[in-house]
Amino acid sequence: MFEDSFIQTMMLTFKLAGITTIILLFIGIPLGYYLGFTQTKIKPVIEAIVSMPLVLPPSVLGFYMLVFFSPKNSFGLWLDETFDLRLVFSFEGLVIASIIFSLPFMVHPLQSGFSSIPKNLSQAAYTLGKSKIDVLFNVLLPNMRPAILTGVVISFAHTVGEFGVVLMMGGNIAGETRVASIAIYDEVEALNYDLANQYALTLFVISFLILLSVYAINKHFLRAKI
């Protein structure tokens, strides 16, 4: 019932969101841990940088990434020559752009998760002879599952929904950089309203289901805690 191009675009969209979310989890845990516990004076600076994608127009971010990663620029050229990596108008580039763009959506819930765990819990674990890494995996992370789930799902959903950065960085190459939100725009421009509606409705339903499951599962987690 669906066209191949529709399936391909949706698959690409979820592949991008999935890879972005997994990488973000690995970045978000140490960064959230650091921001949750640090007393450094430059914490507001780091927090501001992490939160920038929340307020910047995506096109601004996309524009700078486009310039920065372009092979005409020394960094882009270096990536191209050393790693044979072209980030502009490629799937890899989209992943990097999405990671930067969705960073606050992963870091914020994790940071508040870390700081909401009573300090006594980690201190008790230290007095029991446990290292910081041990405490992170056995005490902190298991007791902030709602925060992890929120971070993962919101990052995933936000990556699915992003438009401006993807358009700037990725363009609109079928099977490589054309994700659902771009496809909607593309189909509308071609006055192909039925297909645009198919994409839009799919995103609409999936977004709702994702958020519904987060709230339902978190409610279950929170009730289990009391």
Partner: protein, 290 residues
């Protein structure tokens, strides 16, 4: 030998206080840190555990130097064998009672030790429960059991019984005495309950604004040996009310409030929350069975 010399300026709600304590703790003794909140009691426990660094001083526990500013020794909390029981118990919500105890094991093969301690603390029946289903008294016992699994050189108890009702507190005090004698553990207990201090302590350090104000046995500190009375209790003034030409002073002694008539001159020296001794020598008190 246990040596405790710590100094640090502490910033609190009441302004800055200078914590400056120099004392020794006898092996196997239960020493109570007594004093108002903000006097630096919990801070001292955290310094012994290595959770907070003194700006100067020396901490020697069981002849082992844990902290020495001059020699630049500062063992991390992981290397100090302490059993720390927090006021809010700090049980790990993601682990069952048994898992909480097992997590405290250095050597995961020694699981029989966990069973043994569960047995001693009468927790075997609750082994599979999660902390959030436990009552306050049970949580307290689990926290103590977990601290014991670590085979500590010193047991640090930060007002562990303050959140419990009177009956439960009394029961757990008895258990604490039993356990402390059984393991012969050097113990420091933070408390501001005088009856608890009397019942549990071998030695008392009374702290005021970071300094040791008095030290000695509970009797020496609260007994007021200078007065010879037929009977005497220490208590705390909770209320002063004018009644015609006299004043009625209400004093909390243990769990009871005693009302005593006082003159205007006397009342001028009293204030609410002041600790006082109620003593009587002119009349022989009556003892009436209930």
């Amino acid at each position: 030998m246990n040596e405790l010399i710590v100094q640090k300026a502490l910033r609190g709600a009441m302004g800055t206080i200078n914590l400056d304590v120099n004392t020794t703790l006898k092996k196997g003794d239960l020493t109570v840190l007594f004093g108002k909140s903000g006097a630096g009691k919990s801070t001292i426990l955290k310094m012994i555990a290595g959770l907070m660094e003194p700006s100067n001083g020396k901490i020697v526990i069981n002849d082992e130097i844990w902290f020495d500013k001059n020699k630049k020794i500062n063992l991390p909390p992981q290397k100090r064998k302490v059993g720390f029981v927090f006021q809010d118990y700090a049980l790990f919500p993601n682990m069952s009672v048994k898992e909480n105890l097992e997590y405290a094991l250095d050597d995961k093969k020694k699981k029989t030790k966990v069973d043994e301690i569960l047995e001693i603390t009468e927790l075997s029946a609750l082994a599979k429960e999660k902390p959030q289903t436990l009552s306050g008294g049970q949580s307290q016992r689990v926290a103590l059991a977990r601290a014991l699994v670590r085979e500590p050189k010193i047991l640090l108890l930060d007002e562990p019984l303050s959140a419990l009702d009177f009956a439960m507190r009394s029961k757990l005090q008895d258990e604490l005495i039993k356990i402390q004698h059984y393991f012969k553990l050097t113990t420091i207990l933070v408390s501001h309950d005088i009856s608890e201090v009397y019942k549990l302590s071998n030695y008392v350090l009374e702290l005021e604004e970071g300094q040791i104000k008095k030290q000695g046995t509970a009797n020496e500190i609260f007994g007021g040996n200078t007065i010879s009375g037929k009977f005497k209790f220490s208590g705390e003034i909770v209320d002063i009310q004018a009644s015609d030409i006299v004043f009625v002073v209400s004093i909390l002694v243990g769990q009871d409030v005693i009302k005593i008539v006082s003159s205007k001159d006397e009342v001028e020296n009293f204030r609410i929350n002041q600790r006082v001794i109620v003593s009587s020598k002119a009349f022989n008190p009556l003892i009436i069975p209930q």
